[in-house]
């Protein structure tokens, strides 16, 4: 069975059950299925071909997503602010590619190799992710799950899978900028509520909404945190605010799917622990100390990139850049990364992409994109720039230039003019120097 078979089953068994809520709009399982079925006709000619579309935080996004699958096409949701130029370029590159049978999605990520590429996800993987989350975190039919992150990102998209499998309810929010809306969503009349946060969301709520969050302690069944490591102080504070809520740290990525999870509200609150593997997954630690994953949740490869795929996926195993260990209880503990990719609030960014875009400006002579501590996101992108002779740094101008060429999460928050950029003896950017300083 694929995800849409479960949708069809729910439309039959619980036609009037609310499947999705978004603002003032609601959609029952029957309505969601019928709308998706009707929309599928739009994609009938795209079977086994990729359909690119901008992700929106709407019910219509789900209708499109399911419709593409029903038509046998492949859904490739992009950032909602993807520049048109970039979208056209991508469409041209993948227009003619016929993807292997059984592929459901292509999710674009910087991922483990530091280059933006399309990760192919199969229908089998989607169901395995759903079953992992149901077994590992207890998604149930009486649950209403709040999605507040972008639906093109595996962190949020993957939560729609167990919701549909279980016939639960999804509440879609357009981000967390309107805190009041988030708390209103928690008032939804369901016996149990749950949500997914990146660390920045947790920090924001602790900083500006701790008491209000604590007032939902009885109703919040669980919260999953993912995307990037949650600071231990924030883990402890969440445990204090929500003593009865299951609080999960999860190991997941677009390439590996949802692999392991740990309820840190267990009285021990172990920092860096990502728990035991879920039913469809296995983890091994390589001789070099890297995490490698096996099982049904793995990607099928990178779209049109067999060589890149072979670097990461070999012998039914995805090899990650993350360092890790497994303790005597069989729980995964994560170390750092051994590459140049910067994780900003759950988004992976290859610094070279930012630097290449910045260097297109004639006013920029040299630059390097680095990671710097940030009170909300844990770390943020910072662009150090050597300006051309006679040119002064204009942050806004550079930020706008980058926004025209990159997805928004790749545009640095911080900018600093410097005299020179450190390079190695052979002229390469000395990233190690900036990581240490």
């Amino acid at each position: 069975m694929i995800l849409e078979d479960y949708l069809e089953r729910n439309a039959r068994l619980y036609p009037d059950k609310t499947a999705v809520v978004c603002g003032t709009e609601t959609c029952s399982y029957l309505q969601l299925y019928e709308r998706s079925q009707a929309r599928a006709a739009d994609y009938a000619q795209r079977r086994r071909h990729v359909v690119l579309f901008r992700a929106s935080q709407t019910i219509d996004f789900l209708v499109t997503y399911f419709a593409i699958h029903i038509a046998g096409a492949v859904a490739a949701p992009l950032e909602k602010d993807t520049p048109q130029e970039l979208l056209d370029e991508m469409a041209k590159d993948i227009e003619a590619i016929e993807v292997p049978e059984g592929i459901a999605d292509v999710l674009f990520t910087t991922g483990t190799t530091g280059r933006s590429k399309g990760v192919m996800i199969s229908h089998r993987t989607i169901v395995a992710d759903a079953e992992n989350l149901i077994a590992g975190q207890g998604f149930s039919q009486e649950l209403a799950f709040i999605i507040n992150g972008p639906l093109n990102h595996i962190g949020s998209l993957s939560k729609t899978f167990p919701v549909i499998l279980q016939g639960a309810t999804l509440i879609i929010l357009d981000g967390m900028r309107d805190f009041a809306q988030f708390f209103q969503a928690l008032d939804y009349p369901a016996p149990k509520m749950a949500t997914f946060f990146v660390p920045a969301n947790v920090r924001m709520l602790i900083q500006f909404g701790a008491d209000k969050l604590a007032s939902y302690a009885e109703k919040l069944d669980f919260i999953e945190c993912g995307g990037a490591p949650l600071p231990h102080a924030d883990m402890l504070e969440l445990c204090r605010l929500l003593p009865k809520t299951r609080l999960y740290n999860t190991y997941a990525s677009t390439e590996t799917g949802i692999v392991s999870t740990y309820n840190y509200n267990d009285g021990r609150c172990i920092a860096g622990c990502l728990g035991r593997t879920m039913p469809h997954s296995r983890i091994i630690i390589t001789a070099e100390g890297h995490i490698a994953c096996q099982g049904d949740t793995l990607m099928s490869g990178y779209l049109g990139e067999p060589e890149l795929t072979a670097q990461v996926l070999r012998n039914d195993t995805v090899y990650m850049s993350d360092l890790g260990s497994i303790d005597e209880e069989g729980m995964l503990h994560i170390g750092g990364r051994q590459d140049d990719v910067i994780n900003v609030g759950g988004y992976k960014v290859a610094p070279t992409e930012v630097e290449d875009a910045a260097l297109l400006l004639t006013s920029v002579k040299d630059c390097i994109c680095i990671s710097t501590p940030h009170p909300i996101t844990g770390n943020a992108l910072k662009l150090l720039l050597v300006m051309a002779d006679g040119q002064a740094l204009n942050k806004r101008q550079i930020a706008l230039h980058l926004k025209q060429r990159l997805e928004l999460y790749k545009v640095p928050m911080l900018y600093e003019q410097v005299e020179h950029i450190e390079r190695t003896y052979n002229g390469k950017l000395n990233r190690k120097f900036y990581r240490q300083s």
Partner: protein
Amino acid sequence: MIVKREIRTLLEDLLPLVDFDSDFLFAELNSLDVTTILMALADKYGIHLEAVDATPKNLKTLDSIVAMVERKLQEP
């Protein structure tokens, strides 16, 4: 009285992509921008801001942000 220019300079430096002349400022902001604004204003003016202050009305324009800060400064 809070100087509007002072708040503009403070926020533009932190959020270079945001157009603080917009009449629909809140629509341009993401959750990180909203939090950055709350943190910066709380630090700079020593005021107590909470999640419930981050409403579309309070963050509609730069003028409404200035008005919110002035209101908070008058609170006992």
